[in-house]
Symmetry: C2
Subunit: 163 residues, 2 copies
DNA sequence: CAATATACATCAGACATTTATATACCTCAG
DNA sequence: CTGAGGTATATAAATGTCTGATGTATATTG
């Protein structure tokens, strides 16, 4: 069943996932980084979040997420409020305009991708739907010790990065 | 079968695909843009390619692909030769070092993702394998009129972009 | 052979991301 | 209640990468 040997499996998933995301996203004409759309979606489905939470979720550095939120805030897609329980923290909330932008992005993505999908069988569509869930889970599992108090090795190393 | 309504399907696939790719790729410690690894993989599996072909395949502008190839060439991962059949064109070829870098990337990706995959059942693994194929096909279908002489509308519009 | 199209390179400008550092706030031992 | 140390975010500086415009060489066509 696997045309690709197991050691190529992960890399192929990374390559095809990123290529599809880029090409489909560009087809929508969106001029915003993909991470911005992911942040908006996270805010929509998981509710308001702290900057640090969002950064960890996307494997971004905190300054990069601050900058991303700055841009979204400047465009009126999110609002920044101080966490009443911790004055250091900032809670980011999706605005009506942000929700509208997400909706528009989804519509454009659907318009450009669904035609190709319609050439697939029901089983393949089910595969893609399931794959989206699995990719989310795999990504979460690849994040460094996010679950609370796991007590695993604290990974003291520096962990270089990419992009 | 679908927890997500159809108009969210494409956007969710984009979001989860890009997030997984980023997180898994960063876990490998690679300091190279993902597009560089995709280019190397393309050169490995599809053989030497022109700069323009590679740019179209990744939906990159030609100057961006030229710069990407410059960096790969500077690191000795690809070589540049003039196409004997067209002196304007440049053919990019994978080197031994380039192949080695791909192999190393695959090994690191596997090392970081396979543990999470092992918690999945055989059916889910099959879903992911199939999904990689489907994502590739969908991405190809989203590319603007790449197939030769289709005679379709030449898409005269400007098509803004992103990232 | 001249006019036009193609393939790639180069350049300038814009952005995004990283590391390092600063600031404000919280927690808690003493 | 005070000060040390940790946490959440902001800011600064450096780096890298993308796009659009343009230049150069080659190919194609009438």
């Amino acid at each position: 069943m696997s045309a690709t040997p197991p050691d190529q499996f992960a890399a192929r998933l990374i390559a095809q996932g990123s290529r599809f995301a880029r090409i489909a996203s560009r087809a929508t004409g969106s001029s915003r980084p993909l991470v911005a759309m992911r942040v908006l979606a996270t805010l929509q489905f998981d509710g308001p979040q702290r900057i640090g939470q969002l950064a960890a979720h996307e494997r971004f550095t905190q300054p990069a997420m601050t900058a991303t939120i700055n841009r979204l805030e400047a465009d009126g897609l999110v609002t920044r409020t101080t966490d009443p329980s911790d004055a250091r923290a900032v809670v980011v909330t999706l605005t009506e305009a942000g929700l509208a932008e997400m909706t528009a992005f989804r519509a454009k993505a659907a318009a450009h991708v669904l035609p190709a999908m319609e050439r697939l069988g029901a089983d393949d569509l089910a595969v893609l739907a399931r794959a989206a869930d699995l990719l989310e889970k795999l990504a979460d599992d690849c994040l460094p010790a996010s679950p609370r108090r796991v007590g695993a090795a604290p990974t003291p190393s520096k962990e270089s990065d990419d992009h």
